[in-house]
Subunit: 325 residues, 2 copies
């Protein structure tokens, strides 16, 4: 199980390797939202997303002999880059299974980090079975994207930084909006905040039509998305909440939020103009919820975790040209 001690241990192992990202804000975003909006800029993290945190936590916890055999991950891109980076830094080989329709920028980024990339078809192939077969054949350790105690602990280090930076900024209480696929980042942050900033509450943010976590939190059981693909938010399209992450969020999170692809693009454009950071659609849904779902939030400050920035130039251009800030 993941608890605050495991999160603090992950933070200690990550010192000097995982980046401490800033908490950004701008008067223009505050004015638009009618409240203070803070953005935890994980798009500035090593490998361009928070996934480097969980990957580092998991890989740095491995024994030497297992590291020599290597690690394996399946991912649409950001977890892939995180695991490839953490493995390379530990001198461990890495095999990454990626869906054939993952953004080219993520496939190339993973290869550039030295990993062996194996492509599969998201609709016809079973990535879990594929991964298990390779892991067994080569003695590799599977690093799952969210259902893993060290991965959740690593993502939870984001919450430690939010608590510290919020205290320094004089934020007494806040809704903390977190982009949510399987729920690793949201559950890790929720655990960290329950110990370090108990007046803060995590709210998951998902793309409309892929809001399995919001519906699961509402129904009390694991709900599944109708389709595997169909949103530009490729980074956070998971079929259902994680086995380990959902119970944590049931315990600690408020109701889930969902935004449209258009709202995610608008948030990208506003982050470009007013914060000067690059967000990918899946990394912008929390900021979109902060800006466009104000009625569903408690009064007061909101902190949006901008979870990643690995976006194709073409899609970024669409965001900033079609929706001028």
């Amino acid at each position: 199980m993941t608890d605050i001690y495991r999160i603090r241990a992950a933070a200690a192992r990550a010192r000097g390797r995982v980046r401490r990202t800033p908490l950004l804000s701008s008067a223009a975003l505050d004015a638009r939202a009618g409240r203070r909006v803070w953005v935890k800029a994980e798009c500035l993290q090593v490998t361009g997303s928070f996934k480097a945190r969980g990957a580092w936590a998991a890989v740095s916890a491995m024994e030497t002999a297992a590291l020599a055999r290597g690690v394996l991950a399946f991912s649409s891109g950001n977890h892939a880059q995180g695991v490839a980076w953490a493995a390379a830094a530990h001198g461990a080989p890495a095999v990454i299974l990626m869906p054939r329709d993952a953004p080219g920028v993520k496939i190339e980024g993973t290869r550039a980090l030295g990993a062996e990339v194996v492509l599969y078809d998201r609709l016809t192939e079973d990535r879990a079975a594929l991964g298990a077969a390779i892991a067994e054949a080569r003695g590799m350790t599977l690093i799952p994207p969210y259902d893993h105690p060290e991965v959740i602990a690593g993502q939870g280090t984001t919450g430690l930084e939010i608590a510290a930076d919020a205290a320094e900024a004089g934020i007494d209480a806040a809704e903390v909006l977190v982009c949510c696929g399987g729920g690793g980042l949201a559950s890790g942050i929720a655990l960290a905040l329950s110990a370090e900033a108990p007046t803060f509450r995590v709210r998951t943010a998902e793309p409309e039509g892929f809001d399995d976590m919001a519906r699961s939190l509402a129904s009390g059981g694991w709900e599944t998305n109708a389709a595997p693909t169909g949103s530009i938010c490729d980074a956070i399209l998971t079929p259902r909440p994680g086995e380990m992450t959902f119970p944590i969020l049931q315990d600690l999170a408020g109701a889930g939020l969902a935004v449209s692809d258009e709202e995610a693009l608008r948030a990208m454009s506003l982050a470009f103009a007013h914060l000067h950071v690059v967000l990918e659609p899946g990394g912008a849904v929390a900021l979109a919820a902060a800006l466009f779902r104000g009625d569903d939030l408690a009064a007061g400050d909101v902190i949006a975790v901008a979870s990643g920035g690995n976006v194709e130039a073409r899609l970024f251009v669409e965001a900033i040209m079609r929706y001028p800030a």
Copy 2:
């Protein structure tokens, strides 16, 4: 005069108001440059550029009675926003003289911060005379963009952060490339580093054709640019080195560097793809010099100060579409 004590005092007054920006890096940029490249991301600063530092230092040093009469500045945009922000935070009125051809995003940004904007013609009107007339008529204090001991001290706080973060990252010596208009940022950083990291050397970076500082450093006297405009690097098109800043850089800086507009656009595209930050052309010339003028740099680490990110969407699109990373 500006010295390390004045810079430290400016840093103390700025705590909690001016943002401590991160020192970013990426394996992809290192590979391209053939050395470790670090980017001090001042595009993430309050108001989108380092100018908030100098403005805060100058305004926070003013007496109460003078604050009540207000402040005045002339600026193509980034200094304007910095002064408008610092004035508003001190409850002081602000008048900003801006050239009519300044980017719309900067004119709007300045107005949004509550300042009164007065537009002038860069080719036919004398901004210094205009500013002096308004300052006298309304009893306002002029905050010059670089030739002012507190402004230089404020910009120098960037150097304190570079020295501290470089020490933590294990950087023993480095060339520190600084985007240079009048030289306030470069001279402030040079002063801070000479006290806190004396093995680091400042090198100015300018647009080709507007390299008055590089030519002045080479000749030993104040050289002037042939034309007032004609580069996309609007933020750093000053006619000649500052009276106060040039002697500091003569004493402390290495030879100046210059890059083309195309190289600035390429650096913007690489920063988009690999660092996930938004740079404006004038804020990208130091990174461009780090990436494309390696032969003119001493071996070893290079730190590029990315001084601003206030760029029109259209120009940013040109950079990332025409020069894919």
